[in-house]
Symmetry: C2
Subunit: 352 residues, 2 copies
């Protein structure tokens, strides 16, 4: 899944180049490229399917020339993850009705690659042998308020880290997050799912029939040259909803595999700061030349060759890309979304 | 005088476009253009002589196409104000040995244009009738530590605002500045001078003979086609020193005309902040689109079309131009000079 657009990293990420396409850590590879590379160990590149917004097609082709054109699914509208997943499952099912699918966001950080590969490999074996919807649950390391939590239930016989899911909990407040962690029963919802194509399509029919109905109309077209045309006409009619709401929180056959992946969804500047290497003053610099004095805890994230001279910034975000500059205390980053809306309404789309 | 380069407004001003060439107040005119416009009321444009560094010749021609080429004196090296003034005096003397000269910096702010014109007009009359070096002394409005101070002495008979100068005082500390002002005898040194060409050239001979000697060698060439060639060979050999040190602080025939011009030398971001119109939150924006929250007392000075989203900045400087960005508390602006040197030594001239 690589069609998302977010304003949380504005202006480091921009509408025309969202987070997944950025070289976030200055490694020379975008988060998407790193994600594809990571799963390439598990599956042949010919069996990696990308679902993105049609406006990002050229960027995908440029960043991932090794992915064949028929594996790039172009959404004509933004409809959250459920329609995306439903289409991809149909697309894959049409080619192999027995296929199992790993479904992954493309803009996350995973530091423990070996643990990831092992978990995905075991997870695939699980879904091939069980009619279940499996999600990876991350062992929490701190009471994060930015993540959803999954409560584990009864252990699956023969597995030491896979359990039935007892409940899902939306982003808690800090006090609640502390309580959840203290129980030892709650894990972060990674948004990484494993299932057979057949299983997830059945789940759509049962729990999200209004979505299933739209995509069932395409059954004659999936895997044919008419697939994209059908989608171009019909996709926009699907409800916009996440797979968590539409399926996972309702289904009975949901399992969680608890893992430690060195994972972050990089959903906030704070997460980016915490997962990035820091200089001696405790600052993170993304792609910029910094001369600083009395600065600490600050992220400097810049696109393009630039020198920054900074004095006296404690725990700030300084982000720039093209015609937009953000300077904001990290503790106030939740204000950015609204301010970006203000930018849009006062100065226009060109700055977003 | 428009040859100066300073790093105090880096990166809003850059080596290739220093302060005098910038549209500092977003009025559509650079400080230099405003200075020329201001003196055009007093003298014909054919009698305005510009002295600048040769590297700024093209910018001068572009900003001031109305100034004739022979009135643009190009210094082949930076030697502070004394050599600049000595050359200009010779250049003018060669055309009219009886000429009087107004000598002005080109990067100052003067809000009271009528008072300026009146003062300069009266000042010219004074120097035409007195063998004196006249400087404009600004009535101080606050105990500024960034200015030199001039102590007034005996009043000139027949004038209510012109006095012999008793002493010059270099930039004082705050306590000293308060004391100076309390006496009522001290005025800010504006760096605006009036004198006859003959008078200042005599002063150079008497008080700065080592400079006079170099420029006297050019007597056969001033006003001829060989003048610039002579300067290109000889200028670099002159000592580098300000006219204040070389002449004004030593000469006997120095006078001060005390004036109220709404004057600032715009020597600091603080001065820029104080003299600029502010928005409702008390911020100054130079050429940028600002969405701010909980910001005050801050200058946002940007070259190029840009949106800034800023949160939580109190009394800061945010300045950007091309490949350089500065973020610094206004109270720390004295640190910038050293940091710009660091930029130069670590990353090279291209960022200065």
């Amino acid at each position: 899944m690589c069609g998302g657009v977010g304003s949380r990293f504005w202006p480091f990420s921009r509408t025309n180049v969202p987070k997944q396409f950025l070289d976030f850590f200055g490694t020379g590879k975008s988060l998407l490229q790193m994600t594809v590379e990571r799963v390439s160990t598990l599956v042949d590149k010919d069996r990696i399917v990308l679902v993105t917004n049609e406006s990002y097609a050229d960027m995908i082709r440029q960043q991932l020339p090794e992915i064949k054109e028929s594996n790039i699914l172009l959404e004509p509208a933004r409809r959250n993850t459920a329609p995306c997943i439903c289409w991809a499952a149909h697309h894959i099912f049409a080619q192999d009705p027995e296929a199992s699918i790993m479904t992954l966001p493309s803009d996350h950080l995973i530091l423990k690659e070996m643990a990831f590969i092992k978990a995905m490999d075991e997870g695939m074996t699980f879904v091939e042998n069980n009619d279940g919807l499996l999600t990876l649950g991350i062992k929490p390391t701190s009471p994060e308020t930015g993540y959803g939590y999954i409560q584990k239930g009864m252990q699956v016989i023969g597995s030491d880290d896979t359990m039935k899911v007892k409940s899902f909990t939306e982003k808690p407040n800090l006090e609640m997050a502390k309580m959840l962690i203290a129980t030892g029963e709650f894990f972060w919802n990674s948004g990484i799912f494993l299932w057979r194509a057949k299983t997830i399509l059945e789940a759509f029919k049962k729990y999200a029939p209004e979505i299933a109905a739209h995509f069932d109309m395409g059954l004659p077209y999936y895997g044919t040259e008419k697939e994209q045309n059908f989608i171009n006409d019909e996709f926009v009619n699907s409800p916009s909803i996440s797979v968590d709401y539409a399926i996972m929180e309702k289904a009975e056959n949901v399992y969680v595999k608890t893992v430690d992946l060195g994972w972050s969804d990089l959903g906030t500047w704070k997460a980016l700061y915490e997962t990035s290497p820091k200089n001696i003053e405790g600052n993170v610099t993304q792609n910029c030349k910094l001369i600083s004095n009395d600065c600490s805890g600050t992220v400097f994230a810049i696109k393009g060759d630039k020198v920054i001279v900074a004095v006296g910034l404690k725990d700030y975000i300084v982000a720039e890309n093209g015609n937009a500059l953000l300077i904001c205390p990290m503790s106030e980053e939740q204000k950015v979304r609204q301010m970006v809306n203000d930018v849009k309404s006062r100065f226009g789309e060109d700055y977003i």
